[in-house]
């Protein structure tokens, strides 16, 4: 059933209770990946490649093995050599052979930081010492870091067996281009003839890291009977189980994964890095093994997201109708194929009602860490380019950029560039909300001397996904409720799950406690990602709570000895439905629970579903900033994030998603990038020089939640986590142009780049 009607009065959904796991987190007791220990465990460390591209000629582990306290040393030979097998994992299509080779290199290292060997010893410092004693002989090969350079015919080739897919005829020469993909609506080439104004520009974005504050960590215990337990911080306990089984050649039933608290993921913890190595070390040593990454290892060895090069051409008539658009996206995949090229192509024009568009792109490997998902993977890169181009178009047309977006905005019935006809979308509503927002209606204010001020606006789209999810609702003996979710809670989902169950049951949310189940205590759930948990797992939890509610009515009927249709559930109690049902005092959950043994046993609801129909998310952001003309330093003065969220279950955590996503986008826009030395080594593998925004960099981030309900979800939920990272880069770039008159086509818009661009503009 759904709870969307105007006559449905929601008592819990839409309020802001304290999250059930809150106290543990503010007193420092919550156990994250590195906080967990088991008796007798030893410590693992990884040896990583110092080269961007090299053939491994030999690995001599004898000295490490001889060091006192060392219990196991492994190389790729300790894991099965997996044949090439396409699969749909994490970010998108990938290959388990590649995943295995990314976990530990076999014949070649493909990036600085690529794991080569691992050691387990009785203390972390002995393990570290042992890692230093491993001798690897490399034959260093030429490397290629930049995406466009990697596409050149004479570029060093990473994989001799990589032939570009999606081109006809199939190439016979290996290259770094894994795939070409194209979407076409109408006929863009001839439609440009209708345009009065055409803008065309090249854009570039740097790869950025998810930069969760918690480094990857796990504890693994492999038993002599081949059964293993894994405690780790990840975006999906079932994902960890599946990938470990695949990479170690184990049966899924032999692995039990306990999800620990996760200290941020943003897509970066949708893969395994340490767990397979820890399993191999534990198997070889016969002891539980703990592994944690250092911050440097996180940057060098775990996935950043793709950087890209984008060419955009877009044309409109004098009255502001966009009549034709073309876009080419070259996207870095890192060392193995599998950049989010599909979504990068499907998203950047999804805000608009267009009839003639061609968008194509390439999935390109280079000597960087294999990319991992990062919030709306692919969309921020291409949308930075297209939303910058739309702004440039508005300027050339002499139109307000918000009005230009309104004129072209996608609505219900618009056919998206990638195919489907959109429905139940709230993009226009975000634009209208922007238009009437306090921010848009306040003056920009005077810049200080030597500074330039500007305002920019940009929009973005993300599909959101559903997928397989499980939830369970248990009535405890005293009438309190335990909800079990199949998804790690990254940002407050225990609260939203419990709230939906409480709403269904008509109970106080304090009497409903949510926990995250391990892989044996709840049904399979796809990982926490794709903005799917409140939608899909929320749907499963809601269904499980409804089963419990129906069962509670049935039990009340048994206690009253009336038919169960004659019982209705209201405000957390069973009532006789109408006069004819008989006269009985209402029964609370506690009353019914107290008698549950006598009426058939424990009361439990479990739902395992494959949720379909996630509603797409649209966001519009407004940015005011000030630039120091002489230093190129940018200060964000004011920022508003507006988004169609379907329905906010816990508005504080929804606002938090918008604020966090916007600030990650501001970092992406202004300072974050992977910097490589000439020989292909990562030069800024730490928080000192990988510059994520700090508190003093920012203003308050205002939010406006637009609620256009998703009819496919019982409470109208749409995913909210990903859309807010799509607009910021263009919103900042557009504000920058408004301030300085200079269009910044390359990210990040760091001070040296801004100063150089301002100097160039002055001539």
């Amino acid at each position: 059933m759904n709870y969307l009607g105007k006559d449905v009065e929601l008592k819990v959904v839409g309020t802001r209770p304290i999250r059930p796991d809150g106290v543990e987190k503010v007193i420092g007791r919550a156990a994250f990946g590195a906080d967990f220990s088991v008796a007798g465990m030893i410590h693992g460390k990884v040896l990583r490649s110092p080269h961007a591209h090299a053939r491994i000629k030999s690995i001599d582990t004898s000295k490490a093995e001889a060091l006192k306290g060392v219990k196991a040393v492994i190389t790729a030979n300790d894991l099965p050599n997996i044949p090439s097998e396409e699969a749909f994992v994490g970010e998108g299509p990938a290959n388990f052979r590649d995943m295995s080779l990314n976990t530990i290199a076999r014949d070649k290292v493909l990036y600085d930081g690529h794991a080569v060997a691992a050691v387990a010893a009785t203390s972390p410092s002995i393990a570290e010492e042992a890692v230093r004693l491993i001798k690897v002989e490399y034959e260093v090969l030429p490397n290629v870091i930049d995406v466009e350079e990697a596409m050149r015919p004479d570029a060093p080739v990473l994989h001799e067996d990589l032939f570009t897919q999606g081109v006809d005829p199939k190439p016979t020469k290996a290259s770094n281009i894994a795939k070409r993909m194209e979407f076409k609506l109408g006929d863009s080439a001839s439609a440009f003839a209708k345009a009065d104004v055409v803008v065309e520009r090249k854009y570039k974005t740097a790869p950025v890291h998810q930069a969760y504050i918690e480094p990857h960590a796990c504890v693994v215990s492999y038993g002599a009977d081949g059964q293993a337990q894994v405690w780790c911080s990840s975006q999906g306990q079932f994902m960890v189980r599946a990938y470990c089984a695949k990479l170690l050649g184990m049966d899924i039933a032999d692995i039990r994964v306990f999800p620990l608290e996760i200290g941020g993921g943003f897509g970066g913890k949708t893969l395994v890095y340490l767990e397979p190595l820890a399993l191999a070390l534990s198997r070889k040593s016969g002891k539980p093994v703990k592994m944690t990454m250092s911050r440097e290892e996180v940057f060098r060895g775990s996935g950043p997201t793709s950087g890209g090069a984008i060419n955009v051409k877009i044309g409109a008539t004098k009255n502001g109708r966009i009549v034709a658009a073309e876009c080419e996206v070259m996207l870095q995949a890192g060392a193995f194929p599998g950049s989010p090229i599909g979504p990068a192509l499907m998203t950047p024009f999804a805000m608009y009602d267009l009839s003639d568009v061609t968008i194509w792109g390439y999935d390109v490997v280079s000597n960087r860490p294999k990319v991992a998902a990062y919030r709306a993977p692919g969309a921020p890169v291409s949308t930075f380019a297209t939303e910058s181009a739309v702004d440039e178009l508005a300027k050339q047309l002499g139109m307000d950029p918000l009005e230009l977006r309104l004129i072209n905005a996608a609505k219900d019935g618009t056919k998206a560039v990638y195919g489907p006809t959109l429905k139940d979308i709230g993009f226009v509503e975000t634009l209208e909300a922007a238009k009437s927002s306090p921010h848009w209606n306040s003056p920009l204010g005077e810049a200080a001397p030597g500074k330039l001020r500007g305002r920019g606006i940009a929009s973005g789209f993300w599909f959101n996904i559903g997928g397989e999810s499980s939830g369970a609702t248990y009535v405890n003996e005293d009438g309190t409720i335990t909800v079990v979710s199949g998804n790690p809670d990254i940002g407050g989902s225990r609260a939203s799950m419990g709230m939906m169950a409480a709403e269904v049951l008509g109970m106080d949310v304090k009497d409903v406690r949510t926990v995250v189940g391990d892989t044996t205590s709840v049904g399979f759930s796809f990982l926490t990602g794709g903005s799917r948990v409140t939608f899909a797992t929320g749907m499963a939890v809601t269904q499980s709570a409804e089963m419990v509610r129906d069962e509670l009515c049935k039990r009340a009927a048994l206690l009253w000895e009336i038919p169960s249709e004659a019982v209705e559930w209201k405000d957390g109690k069973a009532y006789p439905a109408g006069e004819n049902a008989g006269k009985f005092d209402p029964l609370s959950v506690a009353d019914i629970a107290a008698k549950s043994a006598r009426t058939g046993g424990p009361i439990t609801g479990k739902a395992s579903i494959n949720a379909q129909g996630a509603g797409p998310g649209y966001a519009t952001h407004i940015c005011d900033l000030e630039v120091d003309e002489e230093t190129g330093h940018t200060t964000v003065l004011r920022y508003t994030a507006i988004q169609d969220v379907g329905k906010a279950i816990h508005p504080s955590y929804v606002e938090g998603q918008l604020q966090g996503g916007a600030v990650q986008g501001i970092g992406w826009a202004l300072n974050e990038e992977y910097v490589y030395t000439k020989d292909g080594r990562l030069d800024n593998a730490g928080f000192l020089d990988y510059r994520i925004p700090v508190a003093s960099d920012l203003p308050m981030i205002e939010t406006i939640l637009v609620e256009v309900p998703n009819p496919r979800h019982p409470f109208g939920v749409k995913g909210v986590g990903e859309p807010p990272i799509v607009p910021p880069m263009a919103a900042v770039a557009n504000a920058m142009e408004n301030a300085t008159g200079v269009r910044m086509g390359s990210l990040p818009m760091s001070p040296p780049r801004i100063r150089a661009a301002l100097d160039a503009a002055k001539g």
């Binding site: 979504p343 993977p377 195919g419 990602g529 995913g719």
Partner: protein, 82 residues
């Protein structure tokens, strides 16, 4: 008959230059079967690597989603996320 459109080139190896066809199918499973009958290999491609948008609603990894007589079907790449 449901109208099936493909905006990407992902089906080109099976369908050539055809980007729009009509298919008689009451759910996704029947659709996959029918696509494979018309273009051998396409069924597997759709089942393994693609999502099916039915009247604008994206469905993945499901046989059972119903398809209406006049439904608009779009074959698109599967979507994941962060």
């Amino acid at each position: 008959m449901a109208r099936v459109t493909i905006a990407s080139q992902m089906c080109r190896p099976y369908m050539g230059t055809v980007t729009e066809i009509e298919v008689d199918a009451s759910n996704v499973r029947a659709l996959i079967r029918e696509l494979d009958r018309l273009y051998p290999g396409l069924g597997n491609q759709v089942e393994e690597s693609m999502a099916v948008a039915i009247d604008g609603v994206i469905c993945q990894d499901t046989y059972l989603e119903p398809i209406g007589a006049d439904s608009e079907i779009c074959l698109i790449p599967k979507i994941a996320g962060g």
